[in-house]
């Protein structure tokens, strides 16, 4: 399970994208047996871009949350249980709130990874302007075309601005989570 969750982290994103294409495509097991009967089309839609980004970024989130949870003192969980809280109650009232920093850090990492995602997205969602074109795909297209440098640079600035906003937001949230009286 551990290997399966972490695999997208080490595999080249193009490989992840290709595997997703095989899985979700019209002739893939999920595409053919699950999606088609339900009338859902994923490949080359924005939904495929979201799935590709999520799969590639997911291990970062899992690892971050796991690190956060492993840092929780086991005695707090024991205290909660002897105070009458069952497992689910303990997860909701003790483990989850104490893992908030890990969850946040993981979400931000996943989001940041998603901003830069290229390989898997282009395989499963293509590069359709206005439909599945993400910032990295657009930058790639403008850099490849003559006189596209200015727009590519503008998109780079948008990318940098988004990243800075995300990091500031992360820092602000971290400070709010740590209770200071």
């Amino acid at each position: 399970m551990d290997v399966l969750v972490n695999l997208p982290l080490t595999l080249p994103p193009v490989v992840v994208g290709y595997l997703l294409l095989l899985l979700l495509g019209q002739n893939g097991p999920v595409g053919k047996w699950v999606l088609q009967p339900l009338g859902i089309k994923l490949i080359f839609t924005w939904k495929a871009a979201v799935i590709a980004t999520a799969v590639v970024g997911f291990p970062l989130m899992v690892r971050s949350i796991r690190t956060g949870m492993e840092a929780i003192d086991e005695k707090l969980i024991q205290a909660s249980r002897t105070l009458g809280a069952g497992w689910l109650d303990t997860i909701v009232t003790v483990i989850a709130p104490l893992s908030v920093r890990g969850i946040m850090a993981g979400s931000i990492l996943m989001f940041a990874r998603g901003l830069g995602e290229f390989g898997a997205t282009i395989i499963v969602a293509g590069n359709i302007p206005g439909v599945t074109q993400t910032i990295p795909l657009a930058i790639y297209e403008y850099v490849s075309s003559p006189k596209g440098d200015v727009i590519a640079m503008s998109l780079c600035l948008v990318s940098i601005t988004l990243s800075v906003i995300v990091l500031i937001f992360h820092e602000w949230l971290s400070r709010r989570v740590v209770r200071v009286d």
Partner: protein
């Protein structure tokens, strides 16, 4: 409270195999570090599962491998106070206190927040976060949190060992007061003989995951006499202090004790048994400020030495002397004797 434990647990190279029944409201579990005390309480509280056997509390099984009974920790109604406070850092003091209370069935809620706050004197802490409380305040809140869950029994797993001496003796009255005020029986776990004598009436002595004996705290203290370098310590609860000759005078039996230091209405002091000098006849003069006329009420072996229990009216002291001194002083049960103690030999606790 009656606790029956007959269970086994294998943990790596350590094997716990205990079989005992103990009755009482203030039960101690004593043993050196690593003898399995915390494993035992984990099994009783339901935090670990025994490999086999049964555990009964007041006759009700909380674990029975034969009948496939294993009541989860959250349904055992056993409150725990740990070595460190382990308060929930994301909750306020009040929310910590109410954590167990809210999860207790309404008809079981006999102890209320107001009553508890009065006993533990934590009213002014309620709306604070737990991260900026002092060590003593945190441990008081931890006691309160366990008590307010309205448990049928409280387990205190070395709750004083992480505190320094002065803090320790500030917390002890709160521990005792909260259990007495709300009539909660408790298991007190410690490797400190002094703590055991203050907190427990019946003591289960453990060694290497097995029962070494079940006795009173005083019997335990006397059984350990002569087995280590530390002497037997007399623990004296003294009352009604007054100032006399620059010292504190406390009533003791049919006489009084003069002790160096501040006067308190009530004081718990310790006196090493080796600091008591015995005289067969009244010494005409001595530098010791206390000369007690006592009667020998008991003589017992204490390793290579002899313990002499001295009765001064209703109160008693134990002195330890070598066997040759017993012969020289011709000490026997009922013999009248004089005991000299320096005022500086007493050490106030807390």
């Amino acid at each position: 409270m009656e606790l029956t434990f007959a269970a086994q647990k294998q943990l790596d190279k350590f094997f716990l195999d205990m079989d005992f029944t103990v009755e009482g409201e203030r039960i101690g579990i004593f043993g050196p570090s690593g003898c399995g005390k915390s494993t035992l309480v984990g099994l009783i509280a339901g935090l670990h599962r025994p490999d086999s056997g049964h555990i009964l509390i007041n006759g009700q099984p909380v674990f029975d491998s034969g009948k496939k009974v294993n009541v989860p920790a959250e349904h055992r109604h056993i409150g725990m106070v740990f070595q460190r406070p382990h308060l929930f850092p994301h909750l306020s003091v009040k929310a910590n206190l109410l954590y167990g209370y809210k999860r207790c069935e309404r008809d079981q809620r006999k102890i209320t927040l107001k009553n508890l706050v009065d006993v533990l004197q934590i009213g002014d802490l309620l709306n604070r976060g737990v991260n900026n409380l002092s060590g003593g305040e945190k441990q008081r809140v931890a006691i309160g949190r366990a008590v307010l869950s309205n448990p049928r029994m409280l387990i205190m797993d070395e709750p004083l060992s992480a505190l320094d001496d002065s803090l320790k003796f500030q917390i002890i009255p709160f521990l005792k007061k909260s259990c007495e005020a709300f009539a909660i029986p408790y298991l007190f776990i410690s490797h400190s003989l002094t703590e055991m004598r203050i907190m427990a009436e019946r003591v289960l002595n453990m060694t290497d995951g097995r029962v070494a004996g079940l006795m009173t705290a005083e019997e335990l203290a006397r059984s350990l006499m002569g087995k280590g370098p530390a002497p037997y310590i007399n623990l004296l609860k003294l009352k009604r202090a007054r100032r006399l000759d620059g010292m504190s005078a406390y009533n003791f039996g049919d006489t009084q004790l003069l002790i160096s230091g501040d006067s308190r209405e009530e004081a718990l002091v310790e006196l090493p048994s080796t600091d008591i000098i015995l005289f067969k006849r009244h010494p005409e003069a001595t530098s010791a400020r206390n000369l007690l006329h006592c009667r020998v009420s008991e003589i017992f072996e204490a390793g290579t030495r002899v313990g002499i229990e001295l009765a001064c009216g209703k109160d008693k002291l134990v002195a330890v002397i070598v066997k040759e001194s017993v012969q020289d002083l011709q000490i026997g049960k009922g013999v009248e004797i004089f005991a000299a103690i320096k005022a500086t030999a007493f050490r106030p606790l807390g």
